[in-house]
C-alpha cells in the first residue's frame, strides 16, 4: 500500500474528487492547509512593487491505495489539477506498512 498525498488548489478539489470516484478511488482524507511553493508563493505585482505572498491556501488529499493504483491516482490528479501556473501543487508518494479498517478490525499488510 502507498499513501498518495496531493496538495492542490482548493478550487480543483471538486473535479478531482469526481474524477477519482469515476475511476473507482473512493477513500480519501482531506484537510485544508497553507502552502509555500518552490517559487516562494506567487509573486503579485502591487502598485509597481513585486510582493511575494508567503502562504497560500491549499487542499491536501491523502489516499491510501494499493501500489498498483498509484500511477492511476497520480495521473488523475495531474489531469484535473494542472493549470500550468505556479501554485498547482505537489504529489508525494509515501510507503505504508499496514492499514486497518476500524469498522471490521481487518488489517491489510503492505503489498508483498
Amino acid at each position: 500500500m502507498k499513501m498518495v498525498t496531493a496538495v492542490i488548489r482548493p478550487e480543483m478539489f471538486d473535479s478531482v474528487r469526481a474524477a477519482l470516484e469515476a475511476d473507482g478511488i473512493y477513500g480519501m482524507t482531506v484537510s485544508e492547509v497553507m502552502g509555500r511553493g518552490a517559487q516562494k508563493g506567487i509573486a503579485l505585482r502591487f502598485r509597481g512593487k513585486v510582493m511575494p505572498v508567503e502562504l497560500i491556501p491549499k487542499v491536501k488529499i491523502e489516499m491510501v491505495v494499493p501500489a498498483a493504483d498509484v500511477d492511476k491516482v497520480v495521473r488523475i490528479v495531474l489531469e484535473n489539477c494542472r493549470t500550468g501556473r505556479p501554485g498547482d501543487g505537489r504529489i508525494f508518494v509515501l510507503p505504508v506498512e499496514s492499514i486497518c479498517r476500524v469498522r471490521t478490525g481487518q488489517i491489510d499488510q503492505a503489498d508483498p
Binding site: 488548489r9 482548493p10 478550487e11 480543483m12 478539489f13 471538486d14 473535479s15 485544508e32 492547509v33 497553507m34 506567487i42 503579485l44 505585482r45 502591487f46 510582493m51 505572498v53 502562504l55 497560500i56 491556501p57 493549470t83 501556473r85 501554485g87
Partner: protein
Amino acid sequence: MIDTGATAFILICTAMVMLMTPGVGLFYGGLVRRKNFISMLALAFIAFALVSIQWVVCGYSLAFGTDINGLIGGLEYAFLQGVGMEGDGIPDLLFMAFQMVFAGLTLAIVTSGVAERIKISSFVVFGLLWTTLVYDPLAHWAWGGGWAAQLGALDFAGGTVVHISSGFSALALALVIGKRLGFGSHGMEPNNIPMVLLGGALLWFGWFGFNAGSALTADGLAANAFVATNIAAAAGALSWLCAAWVRGRPGSIGIISGAIAGLVAITPAAGFVTPMAAIPIGAAAGLVCYGALFFRVKRGLDESLDAWAIHGMGGIFGALATGVFAVAAIGGVDGLLYGNPGQFLIQLVDVAVVVAYSFGATYIIAKVVDAVMGLRVTEEEEYVGLDIAQHGESVRV
C-alpha cells in the same frame, strides 16, 4: 417643530440601517470562498464610507434638491448647506442621514456582481460614479419629486431605488467583469454558512429600521410597515424552504435567502398594504426569487451571490405587488385588487424604466471604468484570492 418620539425613532432606525451594511458584508463574505471573505467585508465598509462622504458633498442634494425637469435635484444642499437641526417632525439633518444609510447599503449590495474579482481602486472609482449617476437620480425620481413621484408611482422604502437598482446593476457589472476563473467547473462552496446566517439576521433586524423608519415618524403606519415586514420575511423564508425541500434538502442558506426575498418584496409595499397581504407577497417572492436563482444558474451567469435574483427580481415583484395589493385605508392609494388598475400600470412603467436605466447606465459606467483602469484583478491574484492580493490579509485555516 421637532417631535422627540419621531426623532428618537428615526435616529435609531438610521443606526439600524447602517448595521445592514456590515450585515451584507458578512452575508456575502460567508457565501464566497474563504480566500475572499475579508474582501467582501472590506468592500461593504468601503462602499459605506465612500457614499457617506459623497452623500454630504453632493449626493443628498442631487437626490433631494429642487427638482430639475423631473430628472435630478439641484445642488443647493451641496456640502449640507441649509440642512440643519430644525425640520418638520424630524431634523433635516436626520432625514439626510436616514437617506444616506440607504445609499451606502445599496452600493454594498452591488458588490455582489464583482465578488472575488474586483480591484479595490476600480471599485472606488466605479462606486463613486455609480452612486452619483445611478443611485442619486433614482432616489430623486422616487422620493425627491422626480417624474416617478409626479406620476404617482409607489415606493415606500426603496423597492425600485434600492433593490431593483442594486440587483440589475449587479447583473450588468457581472456581465462586464466576466465570470470568475473556473466558474462552472471548480468547486465554489460557501466558506462560512453561520456567518451567512448571522449577516442575514442583521439584515432582518436592520430592515425594520429600513421599512418602518420610512414612515418618518413613529406612528400606526410605522407599525403597519413593521408588521408587514416581519410577516413577509417569515413567509418568504417558509416558501423558499418548502420549494427547496421538494427538490432535496432544505438548506439554511435557502431559508435566509427566502427571508430576504420576502423583505425585498415588501419594501416598496410596507406602507401601502395590510399586514395580511404580506403573507402572499412574501411567500410568492420566495418562489419568484428561487425560480430566478435557478434561471440564473441555468443561464450560466456568474452573478453568484444573487443580488439580481433576490434584490432585482424580488424588487420587481414587490413593486408590482404594491400596485396590486395597495389599499387606501393604509397608505391612501388603492391598487388593482381594490379596483384601481391604473396604479398597477404606473408601477409597471416605473419598474420598466428603473430596470432599463439601472442596467444600462451601470453597464456603460462599468465598461468605461474597465476600459480606463481595468475592473478586474489579474488571474494570479484571483487564484490567490483578494484577501491576500488586495488586502494582504487572510482568514486562517
